[in-house]
């Protein structure tokens, strides 16, 4: 579904992402893992058109999206959430989702001023589209609350709803479980599975290995901006280069081992 080739970006002397060639297969869950600073968020920023790559190409469903502005990438069906919960806290939950749906509406300023049929149709469509997205993440009853009044987990869901409201085919989630307790994480995993069962393709960056190993069909491992391994969770967790990268960096080695067992159990 998504193919990147030789994708890379430099910030000054730093190759944040370097020569990455990989595929995100349709209908599956692809996890991007790697130590802090490995370039995972930057990788997402390149795909979504938020950063312009210095090398390589991004193709989505066969179409070249390299250097397209973000709103065009979203219009083609690639939506994303941010690592830190980034939503409009002072706007209502519904308005957040409606902003996500904006890319599917055409009515502009003149339509608004003249109340054209297109404006009325878009206004209805925008509400309906936003409500559909809220339904998918279970937030319909909170639709009229200010988004900032929700729990941390609720706000994460608002972020996902905003992305879903754009009616994407591919959803990029950057550390969706960050700051969640184990129970919330399980709920989130169920939600992601549901979305994929509904036909969505998901790529996610995650630090919680239990989540990655239990959820992902396919894993890409980034280290110092480079793709050092890819494959199924079982393959990747046995890969010497991966083990080395994780042992070489702090703390993640233990999590990695634990998660791998959990993952294999889940797959058995």
């Amino acid at each position: 579904m998504l193919d990147v080739e030789n994708l890379g970006i430099r910030f000054g002397g730093l190759h944040a992402v370097r020569d990455v060639t990989a595929t995100v297969p349709a209908g599956q869950i692809t996890a991007i893992i790697g130590p802090n600073g490995a370039g995972k968020s930057t990788f997402f920023n390149l795909i979504s058109g938020f950063y312009r790559p210095t090398t390589g190409t991004v193709r989505f469903q066969g179409e070249d999206l390299t250097r397209r502005p973000t709103h065009e990438v979203v219009a083609r069906g690639v939506a994303r959430t941010f690592q830190t919960t980034t939503i409009y806290r002072e706007l209502s939950v519904l308005e957040n989702a409606m902003i996500g749906h904006r890319v599917r509406t055409r009515a502009g300023l003149l339509d608004a001023l003249l109340r054209t049929p297109r404006e009325r149709q878009d206004a209805r469509g925008s509400r309906d589209g936003a409500l559909r997205a809220l339904e998918r993440v279970g937030l319909v009853r909170q639709a009229h609350l200010p988004a900032g009044a929700l729990t941390q987990e609720g706000q994460k869901r608002v972020g996902i709803a905003m992305a879903l409201a754009s009616e994407p085919k591919l959803l990029l989630l950057d550390e969706p479980a960050a700051g969640m307790n184990p129970e919330e994480t399980v709920n989130l995993m169920a939600l992601i599975r549901e979305l994929v069962a509904g036909g969505l393709t998901v790529a996610l960056v995650e630090h919680k290995m239990s989540l990655v190993m239990g959820l992902a069909d396919h894993i890409l491992v980034l280290h110092h901006g480079q793709l050092i391994a890819q494959g199924t969770p079982a393959q990747v967790s046995r890969d010497p280069a991966v083990i080395e990268a994780y042992l070489g960096s702090h703390a993640h080695g233990g999590q990695m081992g634990q998660g791998a067992q959990g993952g294999e159990a889940a797959h058995a």
Binding site: S48, F50, P69, T70, H71, V74, A75, A79, R80, F82, T86, I87, Y88, E90, L91, S92, E95, M98, I99, G100, H101, R102, V103, T105, A107, G108, L109, D111, A112, L113, R115, E119, D122, A123, S126, H144, P146, A149, M162, A163, S166
Partner: protein, 325 residues
């Protein structure tokens, strides 16, 4: 209920000239409404889109001078010159936006401030067209306004008052519609975070350009009215002092609210008129007033009003009211 407040207010205001008020009172009314239109235009950018352009009086000047020049020198009817001035102001806003939106934040404000100064300079130096330092004299009232006023038992001043009121009503309607649409919501998204809006799929650049055009068109609308009402144009009124005065009206009234621009203009303009006798000493009154305002009503008069209303029935409604303002 609150949907009826605006129409009721405009109907009430329309009755005023029939009660034989003094010419002075009518003049204050016209001025408040005229400057409020300018404040509404600035509110579209600063209040809803979160950008502070500082060339606003320049676009007011483009609308005013276009109207003045076309009526005086080309013999156009005011009723054609006015829309032409509005269109030209919108076009100029588009051109400025095409360049200025390559910058962000403070750089955007400073860049537009520079452009504002240039507009005033051009107006001041282009003697053949604008009359330069001498300005433009003897711009006539709109054709037919005097006759129409007499027909309903008013003097020309009453007619001007009603024209200004209609202009203001149209402005409020336009801004309210823009704000309530998904276009308006996208502006709020840009105000709340440009990067997030971009990632959510909002075409930030085109939305900013449209907002800018609406903002400068409203400035042109106010400018054309000013030209025909005052009958004289000088370049000074198109300069940064006017921009900052209108900015003050807006801040006092409440950014990003529908009532704010009118409330702020009404209060500060009336105060300025009352304190005129004090000349420069009026700032002894204004200074502390502003400090109090920033301390106790950071969201302006409109914000203060929503807070008071929210406090009465239930405190819980408060957050909702403020976010909806």
């Amino acid at each position: 209920m609150s949907r009826l407040i605006w129409p009721a207010l405009f109907v009430l205001a329309a009755v005023v000239p029939f009660l034989h008020p003094s010419g002075y009172l009518l003049d204050v009314g016209v001025n408040i409404m005229m400057w409020a239109v300018l404040a509404y235009g600035l509110n579209v950018m600063l209040g809803y889109t979160g950008l502070l352009p500082l060339a606003h009086a320049g676009f007011f000047g483009i609308g005013a001078y276009t109207t003045g020049i076309l009526t005086l020198k080309a013999g156009w009817s005011f009723w054609l010159a006015w829309p032409a001035g509005i269109a030209l102001a919108a076009l100029a806003g588009l051109l400025l936006g095409l360049v200025a939106f390559r910058t962000r934040g403070d750089a955007f404000s400073i860049f537009t401030l520079g452009v504002g100064v240039i507009i005033t300079l051009v107006i001041n130096k282009w003697d053949a067209l604008t009359g330069g330092n001498d300005g433009l004299n003897g711009i006539a009232p709109p054709a037919g306004l005097e006759e129409a006023s007499r027909a309903i038992g008013l003097k020309l001043s009453g007619g001007f008052y009603l024209l200004a009121l209609l202009t203001l009503a149209l402005t409020v309607l336009i801004v309210a519609r823009a704000r309530a649409s998904s276009f308006g919501l996208s502006l709020l998204a840009i105000r709340g975070g440009e990067d997030l809006a971009r990632s959510a799929g909002v075409n930030v650049y085109t939305h900013k350009l449209r907002a800018m055009m609406l903002s400068t068109a409203l400035a042109g609308l106010a400018g054309g009215l000013y030209a025909t009402y005052v009958g004289f144009l000088g370049s000074a009124v198109t300069g940064p002092t006017t921009t900052f005065t209108v900015l003050l009206y807006l801040l006092v009234g409440g950014l990003g609210t529908l009532a704010g621009p009118l409330l702020g203009t009404a209060l500060i303009y009336s105060l300025t008129q009352t304190l005129k006798g004090l000349q420069d000493y009026q700032y002894i009154v204004f200074g502390p007033l502003l400090v109090l305002l920033v301390m106790y009503a950071p969201h302006g008069l409109a914000g203060l009003w929503t807070r008071l209303r929210a406090n009465r029935p239930a405190r819980a409604a408060k957050t909702k009211e403020v976010s909806g303002a």
